[in-house]
Symmetry: C2
Subunit: 485 residues, 2 copies
C-alpha cells in the first residue's frame, strides 16, 4: 500500500471509526460467541499472496465485531471505564506516523520533552506538590507508564533497591538475598491484584492490611503490622495504597516508601471538590493514576510521578554504548528508559497534549462531574427500591449494590443480567458478600441509559425473586423437570 | 469534538500522515534542538478553555517536528529498524476505536482469539516447532508482549518460579530467598541490556558468557561456567541467547530454561534461506522476536511463544483456588493477563492481521530480502575502500564497520557524521573497539540512499583523516587557535 492508497483507505477507516462509535448503542454490548469461535472463521495460515483492503474490511464485521465486547457502548457498566475520545485518536494517528521509539532524549527529543511537560501540566491540574514536578530544575517528575501494574512494580523495585543499598551501606556483609528475605510490602486487603503481582515479581512478601468500613487501609492496623513485623526481625519497606490520607502518617514515621495508586479515582482530582481525597500525597514517594481510564486519553497512558527521579534511575540504569549520547550526563536531559521496565516507548504524550488542549481543564472537569452525577442518579434509583441495598459509599462513578438476600440470589441476578446482554456488569466481593458493580464508563452515557439500565435490572430482579419464591414454596423452578426432594 | 468533526479532522490527519511520510526524505533526519528546547515554546499549564484543532495542528510543525528524530527517513541508519506500514496504521485506528482492554477472554473474545490465531500464523511462517503453537489443543502458544525486554523478564520469572517449585518440592524447608540467592542466569557478553535488567528485577545473578568470533555465546564457555557454578553450590536455571544453535545442547543436558531472544533477526526467519539461524529452537522453552522491528507491524508488537503455557500462567496467575474451573487449562480459554506483566492490553493482533494479509508472506519475504541486499551493497562499498574495515560478518541488515585506526579516530568520524545530520548512525563497542553501525531501517530506503550515505561517510572520513594527519604533522587542527604544545 502506497501513500496514495493510504489516503483513500485511511479516510474510509476514519468513516468506519465514526460510524462504529456513532452506532455503538445499537450493537449488543456483550457478544454471543463461545470460546474458540474465531479459529474456524479464518484460514489456518497467512496468505502467500497479498489480499485486498476490501476483503479485510468485510471481515471486520463478519469475524471481529461478533466477538467484541463493546467497552464504549453506553450500556457497558463493567470493570472500570477505559478512555476513548476523538482528540486522543487523532493524536494516536500522528504517534503512529512519527513512529519514533523514545527510549532516550536523543532517540527523539520531542517525544521525551513533551512527555515531561505534559506530566507537569497534569500534575498542576491535580495540584500535586511541587516536589513531584520536573519543572526546569526539579528533582522529581513524571513519566507515562503502560499500566498502573507497571507503575506499582517500578515503585516497588525502586523502593527495594533503595532500602537494600541503605542497609548494605550500614552492614556491607549483608547479601541482597538476605535482605530480600526480610523485606515486607503492605497493601490493603481490598487492593488490586497488581500489588500482589508486583510482590511476586519483586520476590518480596506482601501483607494485606485489614480495611475499614470505607474499604480503605486502617492506619492503626498498618501500625500494628509494622510493629509486629519489626519485632519478628522483618524489614517493612513499601506501602501501596489507593489513597494517602490514612497511611501517610505511619509511612512517614517509619521511613517506608509510600506509593499511592489512584488508578481510577485520580482523574477526579482535577476537580477541586474531590482533591481532598489526595490529601497526604505530600508524604508519598510515588503517585500514579490512569488518564487512560477516566481522563479521555485512550489506553495506554498511566501517569506516574516520583519525588526523586534518581530513585527510579538508580534502580534501572544500565548504559550500553549503543544507547549513550553526548548530552546524557548534563542533568538537563531525561532518558525515560531508566524510568520503566521496557526499553521501547511510543510518543504517548501527544494524546495528552491533544486531549488537554481540545477539552480544556474545564471540559475535563465537566466530564468527570457528569459521570459522578450519573452514578449518584443510579444510587438514588437503587435506594428507592427497598429490595436492594447500596454496599459502599458512592463517591465517584462506581455504585456497589445488591439485592438484600443471599449471595446465591445475587449471583442469579447477575447471571440473568449478563445473559440478557442488554447491559454488561461484573461483580465484586466485599467482605465475602457477592456484590454487583455499576460503573459509569462510556463517554456517551446519558441519564436515559442509566434509567433504562435500572429498569432492566429491576425486571431481572423481579424474575429472579419470583423464581426464588417459587423454589421456597416448593414449586419447581422454571425449566426444572422434577421438583426438589 | 463530535463524530462529524472527527470525520473531517481525521481525514485531514490522514493527509498529514501521508504528507509526512511522503516528504520525510526532505526533513533533516536528526533534529537541531538542544535539551530543554520545548518547554519555553508552550504554556506552563494546560488551558482552562478548549482550543481549536487548527491551533494544535499548527503547533505540530512549529513545536513537535523540530524536535523529532525521523526514524522512518531513508537516511536513518541508527539503532535498529522500527516498523512502519500503512496497513498497520489502519489497523491501529481500528484498535483505538474498539478500545477494548483484553485482559481476559470475556473482556473481548475477539481480542484474545485473533491474537492466538495470529501468533499461530506467524509461528508457522517461521516454521516454529508444533510445540510452540496453540492450535486447538496445544499446550504451548503465543502472546503479544510490549517489548522484547518484557518477554525476557517474563521468561526469566517463569523459569525462576519453575525451578523454585521444583527445588521446594524436593526440599520443603528451602525458602524462596535461600533458593534465589543461588540462582544464576546466563547471557552472552554481547547480550542486550534487557537481559541484565531482567536479572536485576528478578533478583537473580546474571553471568556474561564470552562470545566467539561471530559474537555468539560459546557452548564450551557456557558449559565451563555451568560446571564451575554448580561446583560452587550455585543453581544454574536460565539462559538467554539471541540464537539457539550453539547453546541448546548444554541447556537441554542441564535442564535449564532456554529463552531465545531474536528481537531483530527473528523477522528474517520467514525466509527459508535464513531459517537455519533458528535451528535448535526445538530445545528452547520460550522464543521471542519483534515484528515491530522488521516485519512492518508498528510498535508495539513483540511476539513471544512458549512450549508450556502453564509455565507462564503458573508464575503469574493470582486466581484464588476457588475460582478455578475445569476448562481453565483446556486451551479453550486464554486469559492473557496471566501471560504478561501488565493487566491491561490493546487489540494489537489487528495490526498483524492487516499486515500479513495485505503484504502476504511473499511480500514480507521480499521486504526482508531487499533490506538484506541493501546491507550487502553497503558492505561491498565499504570493502572497496581500503581505509575501512568490516568488523562482523554481515548476515542480515546490519553492517558494523570502522576506519582502520584508533577508537578516537572513529569517534571523531561518528561525531562528524552525526553533526552534519545528513544521515544518522549510532556506534557500538565490539571487544573494546569503537565501531560504527549501519542498520538498514526505513521501509522506503533504496540503493540510491545507501550510496549517498556511503559517499557522505567517505567525505567525512577524508576530513577526519586529514585533520588527524595534520595533527600528527604538528599542524593546528582546523579551528584551533593555538598549535598544541
Amino acid at each position: 500500500m502506497n501513500a496514495s492508497e493510504f489516503r483513500r483507505r485511511g479516510k474510509e477507516m476514519v468513516d468506519y471509526v465514526a460510524d462504529y462509535l456513532e452506532g455503538i448503542e445499537g450493537r449488543q454490548v456483550f457478544p454471543d460467541v463461545d470460546p474458540g469461535y474465531l479459529r474456524p472463521l479464518i484460514p489456518t495460515t497467512a496468505p502467500q499472496e497479498p489480499e485486498t483492503f476490501e476483503a479485510i474490511i468485510e471481515d471486520i464485521e463478519k469475524i471481529i465485531m461478533p466477538g467484541v465486547t463493546h467497552w464504549h457502548s453506553p450500556y457497558f457498566f463493567a470493570y472500570f471505564p477505559t478512555a476513548s475520545s476523538y482528540p486522543a485518536m487523532l493524536a494516536d494517528m500522528l504517534c503512529g506516523a512519527i513512529g519514533c521509539i523514545g527510549f532516550s532524549w536523543a532517540a527523539s527529543p520531542a517525544c521525551t520533552e513533551l512527555e515531561t511537560v505534559m506530566m507537569d501540566w497534569l500534575g498542576k491540574m491535580l495540584q500535586l506538590p511541587e516536589a513531584f514536578l520536573a519543572g526546569e530544575a526539579g528533582e522529581g517528575g513524571g513519566v507515562i507508564q503502560g499500566t498502573a501494574s507497571e507503575a506499582t512494580l517500578v515503585a516497588l523495585l525502586a523502593a527495594r533497591t533503595k532500602v537494600t543499598r541503605h542497609l548494605q551501606a550500614a552492614s556491607p556483609e549483608l547479601t541482597q538475598a538476605a535482605i530480600m528475605e526480610k523485606l515486607v510490602a503492605y497493601a490493603s486487603d481490598q487492593a488490586h491484584s497488581s500489588v500482589e503481582k508486583a510482590g511476586l515479581i519483586g520476590g518480596v512478601r506482601l501483607k494485606a492490611i485489614p480495611s475499614d468500613g470505607k474499604f480503605a487501609m486502617r492506619a492503626s492496623a498498618l501500625q500494628e503490622a509494622l510493629e509486629r513485623d519489626k519485632a519478628a526481625g522483618l524489614i517493612p519497606f513499601f506501602v501501596s495504597s489507593p489513597g494517602p490520607t490514612r497511611v501517610s502518617g505511619p509511612c512517614h514515621k517509619e521511613g517506608l516508601w509510600l506509593h499511592v495508586d489512584a488508578a481510577y479515582a485520580g482523574s477526579a482530582f482535577i476537580c477541586p471538590e474531590f482533591r481532598h481525597l489526595l490529601n497526604g500525597v505530600e508524604f508519598a514517594d510515588s503517585f500514579n493514576f490512569n488518564p487512560h481510564k477516566w481522563l479521555l486519553v485512550n489506553f495506554d497512558c498511566s501517569a506516574m510521578w516520583v519525588k526523586k527521579r534518581t530513585d527510579l534511575t538508580g534502580a534501572f540504569r544500565l548504559d550500553p554504548v549503543y544507547l549513550r549520547h553526548s548530552h546524557q550526563d548534563s542533568g538537563l536531559i531525561t532518558d525515560y528508559r531508566h524510568w520503566q521496565l521496557p526499553l521501547g516507548r511510543r510518543f504517548r504524550s501527544l494524546k495528552m497534549w491533544f486531549v488537554f488542549r481540545m477539552y480544556g481543564v474545564k471540559g475535563l472537569q465537566a466530564y468527570i462531574r457528569k459521570h459522578v452525577q450519573l452514578s449518584h442518579a443510579f444510587e438514588a434509583l437503587v435506594r428507592q427500591d427497598t429490595r436492594f441495598e447500596i454496599c459502599a459509599e458512592v463517591i465517584l462513578g462506581l455504585v456497589c449494590f445488591r439485592l438484600k438476600g443471599s449471595n446465591k440470589l445475587n449471583e442469579a441476578l447477575l447471571e440473568s443480567i449478563n445473559s440478557a446482554k442488554k447491559i454488561h456488569l461484573v461483580p465484586c466481593s466485599l467482605r465475602d458478600r457477592f456484590v454487583l458493580r455499576f460503573a459509569i464508563c462510556s463517554r456517551t452515557v446519558e441519564l436515559a441509559h442509566v434509567q433504562l439500565a435500572w429498569e432492566h435490572i429491576q425486571e431481572m430482579a423481579a424474575t429472579v425473586l419470583r423464581a426464588q419464591g417459587e423454589e421456597k414454596a416448593g414449586k419447581p423452578p422454571c425449566g426444572a423437570e422434577f421438583p426438589p426432594p
